[in-house]
Subunit: 139 residues, 2 copies
DNA sequence: GGGTGATTGTAGCCATGGCTACGGATTAAA
DNA sequence: TTTAATCCGTAGCCATGGCTACAATCACCC
């Protein structure tokens, strides 16, 4: 066997994982800017519990993706594309989180699980989550 | 800043991702052995839509983790630890899949989303999934 | 036995995201 | 202004999991 079978819907790939990271970071940048006014590398390092070196390299990747703008030793800013992606990510994040709460999952656990789950929920499933939450909270 | 903040529950780490891969692989090996009697590297390559080289290296890692046994040019076998992990993984996988079905997600989408979600569901949330499925299918 | 095709191994490349170590830049305080 | 602390960049290491290219092994048939 030389080339992989293309028609297999099974695996999240490397690039999937990189996209998840991008979404997590732009979402975090938007939140931090909301809270503190600006977002520095060190803020992201704290948020994600990694060193500033790791953040720097991921931010560099986001710059090359056109999601973020930086100047040396300056705060990190989102581009328009970055803001849009952050908004979409936050929207999906919120739907998943409220869904887990509506299901009866404790807030703390729901927050953690949402982080892991959000990138793997298809639009179709997300719609079911919304429907369930709407019905459950209407009581 | 030099060392990362430890008390942040935010991120799936590299080792998390490696564990997910291990679970996916032992689960796949168990399934393939169930279906075909033995599991070869090429079967896993087809299943995960990657080349045999990638499979070989991941299998080598599973061997070093004590989950799998191999001899050169021979099929891949699970150790007792591997079988136990596969069983737990399949159990969780099934719960998530049935939950999505019970929620009204189409089978095909549910199968795909389960692949992504299963590794990020805490025991607490998993229990809620089970409860919901039980109630929904009791109708 | 010899050949052919499928399977597996090995070498070596890349991207991503972890890290330490160290040095430069910035900022605020003395 | 100098000094100290904080922040950021760079160099360079590692693990994981993608890949191509090529070699070796195995199984099977002639």
């Amino acid at each position: 066997m030389s080339s992989p079978n293309v028609s297999v819907p099974h695996r999240r790939t490397r690039s999937d994982h990189a996209s998840e990271t991008a979404e997590d970071y732009v979402e975090a940048i938007a939140e931090i800017v909301e809270e503190r006014g600006t977002c520095r590398v060190v803020d992201l390092a704290t948020r994600f519990a990694v060193t500033h070196v790791t953040v720097s390299r991921i931010v560099a990747r986001l710059v090359s993706l056109g999601l973020v703008e930086t100047e040396p030793y300056q705060p990190v800013r989102l581009t328009e594309a970055g803001r849009k992606l952050a908004k979409r990510s936050k929207h999906r994040h919120d739907i998943v989180y409220k869904f887990l709460l509506a299901l009866g999952v404790p807030a703390k656990t729901a927050a953690i699980d949402t982080e892991g789950i959000e990138h793997h929920v298809s639009p179709e499933t997300l719609k079911r989550f919304e429907d369930f939450t709407a019905r459950a909270t209407a009581d």
